[in-house]
């Protein structure tokens, strides 16, 4: 009862404490509110991912439909071809679709099947197409917009997606029959390495938020202590004052919960219009998991009370209004050291994570939390030990050091968030560097020779030749390695019906193009070559079974097994030279028959593929978009791939994106915490600053003093973060059974810490200048 009465008294002081009481409550509430809003966003992530997956599954082709036997033409069936494209670095997904009956299936979010020449688009795409920014894309998608895709058919509000109606798409032209939408939720198990990464990311991002909340409930503490001293004078004992202080913090945290809830609800309404690194979310996706939200609601006020009670133990409030910090007692090292060591021990005892075994997340999360909290606990001791040894120096330095020597607790608390964030980020970066190779795949592609690869199949030779000409005429295109390719057979039936019909590829192009594909040496139009792979005699022999010099080859590959197909024979010249195949820009080896256009007119080929590997002049604006527009004009289903030397696993890439988003939010929160702390200290020293002005103290002297006062704890904090983060990184990397590949990853993070020092100092200066006025000397 006494407890409740004292807590209630504290709440009443906070609520009815006049301007000062409300100012303190507001400070705490805004701080706690920001932390709570971030926690609510974090607790919404599982729901957000579930909703996205559900919508993705719903628009996926049904499993039955993918079975050729069950996918029969019907009143509802649809032919479609993937027409995904890219526009200025953004993916624009979509399909070209043709109804096969009167009642075609519509994808989720689409009310009416688009008529030929019309399209249904997502709101983001509609907006882009309507703007001058989307002018080039409009050329690629010149269809009339007949409707908008509803939210149920989109992964996110920013997604650019379309469905185009067609009356010309055929199966022969690449169309695929679809008889149903929606698949059961796929349980794609994450790789154990990714599980560990995600656990550590959650810990790294949420521990600083927890620390920030703990710091926020102590905002305005010095003023509160003076008020409590007055209560001591009228008879409250030390324990009561602690409980009253806890009551004040409880009130602040409860208001903070409301503020956080309000910030979350208001922020959620605008989340759809916010896009970070091409990611956005529907407001309805951002719904916290009930048990996580309940945990936040209980844990935040409880931790506010506990933090205050613990903090008040180091403060002696005396009845005469004298508040002395019991700092002279000195901080003890042993138990502070014990926490991170225990964390490391938990991680080491968990052992290495198996490649295919399920991961138990709890000891990993627990160990990492202990290490990071341990670093936050070590920091006050280390800052105190460091500043105790500092002597001399110029006046601003002396003022800052003496201030920290007198009381470094507040500064350490403000910095502990940055220490934990940087330590966690260092460990994570080390893990990312160590496991990155596992998720990066060398493609073998050579972007220096060509940046784009286009491919269309089942076209006749004439169309293929026109395709290459069209790309050559496209604005910004430097060279086109354009080939028309087909499979050719050895004429006649094999002796044994079980034997395979000898077959090889035929590639037709000009001399310059063929030179890109094989070591052909001299070449004139009309020449023909037989390209053998390097160091593969068996394959070379197989090629030679078809490519017999001076003998005929069957150009119609369908002749062997399609009834009614007509034979089309061509004689491989007797003087065709055998050459060694090389790698094209895509990294593929071209072997078989290589013929110049003069030797074999590609227009005569009955069935061919067109492959164009295109190099653009990157100085021409939007050259890539012109290439894609040409491709879409020729065939909306033609895929244009960008050549890269490395591809990155999508899941891995999205985890990395999540880390960047979270780290940005955490660092912003920490900077805010440091700034509030700094401003509060300055306000506390208003009168003293006025006195120093009276002495003629220069602004620059006090400005430097503020800088050093911020910098010293931050530098100590970053050193702790580097050592602790590297230690944690080494252990985690060892757990993943990977070697540490990068030791200097902390440098950019240390730089970010330096940036924070400068930012906080600069943002404090306006108040410092304002306080350095003689008004503070006035008492009346």
């Amino acid at each position: 009862m006494t407890w409740l009465r004292d807590l209630g008294l504290g709440i009443r002081f906070a609520a009815a404490g006049g301007r000062e009481g409300w100012a303190r409550t507001a400070l705490t509430a805004v701080g706690v509110g920001l932390g709570v809003a971030l926690l609510l966003v974090a607790s919404s992530v599982p729901h957000l991912l579930d909703e996205r997956s559900a919508r993705s599954d719903a628009r996926y082709e049904a499993t039955d439909s993918r079975n050729a036997d069950s996918a029969k033409k019907s009143d509802t069936s649809v032919l479609r071809i993937d027409a995904e494209t890219e526009y200025r670095g953004h993916t624009v997904g979509g399909f070209v679709m043709r109804a096969e009956g009167a009642h075609p299936l519509t994808p989720p979010g689409v009310a009416e099947f688009p008529a030929p020449g019309e399209m249904v688009v997502s709101p983001a795409l509609k907006e882009l197409l309507a703007s001058s920014e989307g002018k080039l894309l409009k050329e690629r998608l010149p269809y009339r917009i007949s409707g908008t895709i509803a939210d149920t058919g989109l992964l996110s509000p920013g997604e650019m997606y379309f469905y185009v109606g067609s009356d010309t798409l055929t199966q022969a032209g690449g169309g695929h029959r679809l008889t149903g939408y929606g698949v059961d939720p796929q349980d794609t198990a994450l790789s154990p390495v990714l599980v560990v990464l995600i656990i550590i990311i959650c810990v790294v991002l949420l521990v600083p938020v927890a620390i920030f909340i703990a710091t926020a409930v102590r905002f305005g503490g010095e003023r509160r202590d003076r008020r409590l001293a007055a209560l001591r004078l009228v008879g409250t004992d030390i324990r009561q004052t602690r409980r009253i202080a806890a009551g004040e913090a409880l009130f602040g945290s409860l208001v903070g919960l409301l503020v956080g809830g309000a910030l979350f609800l208001v922020g959620r309404r605008f989340v759809g219009s916010v896009e970070l690194w091409n990611h956005s979310a529907f407001p309805s996706d951002l719904a916290p998991a009930t048990w996580l939200a309940a945990l936040v609601v209980v844990a935040v006020p409880l931790s506010a009370v506990l933090v205050t009670l613990v903090a008040m133990r180091s403060v002696v409030i005396e009845p005469l209004g004298v508040v002395r910090h019991a700092g002279s007692r000195g901080r003890r090292l042993w138990w502070r050291l014990l926490v991170p060591v225990a964390g490391l021990a938990v991680l080491v005892s968990t052992g290495k994570v198996g490649q295919f075994e399920p991961v138990n997340p709890y000891p990993i999360a627990g160990g990492a939390v202990l290490v990071l909290f341990g670093l936050a606990l070590l920091l006050p001791w280390l800052v105190e030990a460091a500043v105790k040894r500092l002597r001399g120096g110029p006046l601003p330095w002396q003022l800052a050091i003496r201030r920290l020597q007198l009381n470094s607790g507040a500064a350490s608390r403000a910095v502990s968030g940055i220490t934990v964030a940087v330590a966690g980020a260092v460990a994570l970066q080390m893990m990312f560097a160590a496991v990155g190779d596992e998720f990066d795949e060398m493609t073998g592609q050579d972007p220096s020779r060509a940046q784009f690869h286009t491919f269309s199949e089942l076209v006749d030779g004439d169309a293929a030749a026109r395709t290459i000409e069209a790309f050559q005429a496209t604005k910004g295109v430097e060279t086109v390695i354009g080939t028309v390719e087909a499979y050719v057979l050895k004429p006649g039936k094999p002796k044994d019906p079980d034997d395979m019909q000898p077959v090889t590829s035929l590639t037709v192009g000009d001399c310059a193009t063929l030179r890109e594909l094989a070591d052909i040496g001299s070449c004139r139009d009309g020449d023909v070559f037989v390209a053998h792979p390097k160091n593969d005699k068996e394959q070379a022999d197989w090629i030679d079974q078809t490519a017999r010099k001076g003998k005929e080859v069957e150009l119609n590959s369908a002749f062997a097994d399609v009834p009614g197909a007509k034979s089309q024979l061509w004689t491989l010249p007797a003087d065709a030279r055998t050459v060694r195949a090389g790698l094209d820009p895509l990294g593929s080896e071209h072997w078989g028959i290589l013929a110049t256009v003069g030797a074999l007119d590609p227009r005569t080929l009955p069935s061919a593929q067109t492959i164009a590997q295109i190099r653009i002049d990157e100085s021409v604006p939007d050259a890539a978009e012109h290439v894609r527009n040409t491709a879409a004009r020729i065939d909306p289903g033609m895929r244009v791939a960008t050549l890269t030397s490395v591809t990155r696993d999508r899941q891995y890439a999205s985890v990395q994106t999540g880390l960047r988003l979270g780290a940005a939010a955490t660092l912003a929160l920490i900077a805010l915490s440091m700034l509030v702390n700094q401003l509060e200290q300055l306000r506390e020293r208003k009168r003293l600053l006025s006195v120093l002005v009276a002495f003629g103290t220069k602004r620059v002297t006090l400005g430097w003093s503020v800088l050093w006062q911020t910098a010293v704890p931050v530098v100590v904090g970053i050193l702790v973060a580097i050592v602790g983060g590297t230690g944690l990184g080494v252990v985690l990397t060892w757990m993943l059974d990977k070697p540490v590949t990068e030791w200097w990853l902390f440098l950019p993070l240390a730089g970010a810490g330096g940036g924070l020092i400068v930012a906080v100092t600069l943002l404090s200066l306006p108040l410092l200048w304002r306080l350095m006025r003689p008004d503070g000397l006035r008492t009346e």
Binding site: R324, G392, L395, Q398, L399, R402, R403, Q405, L406, N407, R687, L688, V691, L692, V693, A694, F695, G696, T697, K698, T701, P774, L777, R778, T779, E780
Partner: protein, 228 residues
């Protein structure tokens, strides 16, 4: 008309805070080595007069001349430099920097003037000895009594050998015994260094240490011995 031989002269000062007039035609002068008490009830404008004289606050109207230079026409940087080199201050509650030791607090004006730390602290220690508080040199303000703290403030005001010391209720927070001792030390030290003292007080007991009294009432200063 400026009184002959005056070090610091103010004429017809006006200063208003919001709609409240603090000074309304106040005039004042002090000679080198002279101790002048500025007396008056609370809210009469005596502290504002001191702040104007010291160049901390700029008057709305009127002139302040120090050593032939007009303070009210100086820039903020020039006035700051003047306060560092020529003026010293003692406030009611000492207003020592809590994180610095008493020795470092005393040395502060010298360090602000660019004197090297060791030299500044040597001079500061001499002043602490003169004021009989060298035993608390290494202690912080929070660890010493009010009287000791105020003596540190006096030492700090005199350490840079200023021409004028401005003291605003220097004994207001002390008991009578301590207050008298602080006044004795302040006035003796100032007189021996030929430093003028402008002493704001409302206690006749404190004003008794002065050579001359000026009464401020309703923002106007009246010299009790000779009109300015």
């Amino acid at each position: 008309m400026t009184p002959a031989g005056s070090l610091l002269v103010a004429q017809d000062l006006h200063k208003t805070y919001g709609s409240t007039p603090a000074l309304d035609g106040a005039s004042f002068s002090v000679h080198p080595g002279e101790v002048v008490a500025v007396m008056g009830p609370s809210g009469s404008g005596k502290s504002t007069l001191l702040h104007c004289l010291a160049g901390i606050v700029t008057p709305d109207a009127g002139t302040i001349t120090y050593g032939g230079r007009e303070i009210s026409a100086m820039s903020d940087a020039e006035r700051s430099a003047l306060r560092r080199t020529d003026f010293g201050f003692v406030f009611q509650f000492g207003q020592l920097v809590p994180e610095l030791t008493c020795l470092e607090n005393t040395a502060l004006p010298l360090r602000l003037n660019g004197v090297r730390r060791k030299d500044a602290e040597r001079t500061a220690r001499e002043w602490l000895e003169r004021l009989e508080i060298d035993g608390i040199a290494a202690q912080r303000p929070g660890e010493v009594s009010g009287g000791q703290g105020q003596r540190v403030a006096v030492a700090r005001a005199l350490v840079a050998s200023p021409k004028v010391v401005f003291a605003d209720e220097p004994t207001g927070a002390l008991d009578s015994l301590n207050g008298e001792r602080v006044m004795e030390l302040l006035t003796e030290s100032a007189r021996s260094a030929n430093t003028a003292v402008v002493l704001v007080t409302h206690e006749a007991r404190v004003a008794a240490y002065s050579d001359r009294d000026i009464v401020v009432r309703d923002g106007r200063a009246r010299d009790l011995e000779h009109a300015v």
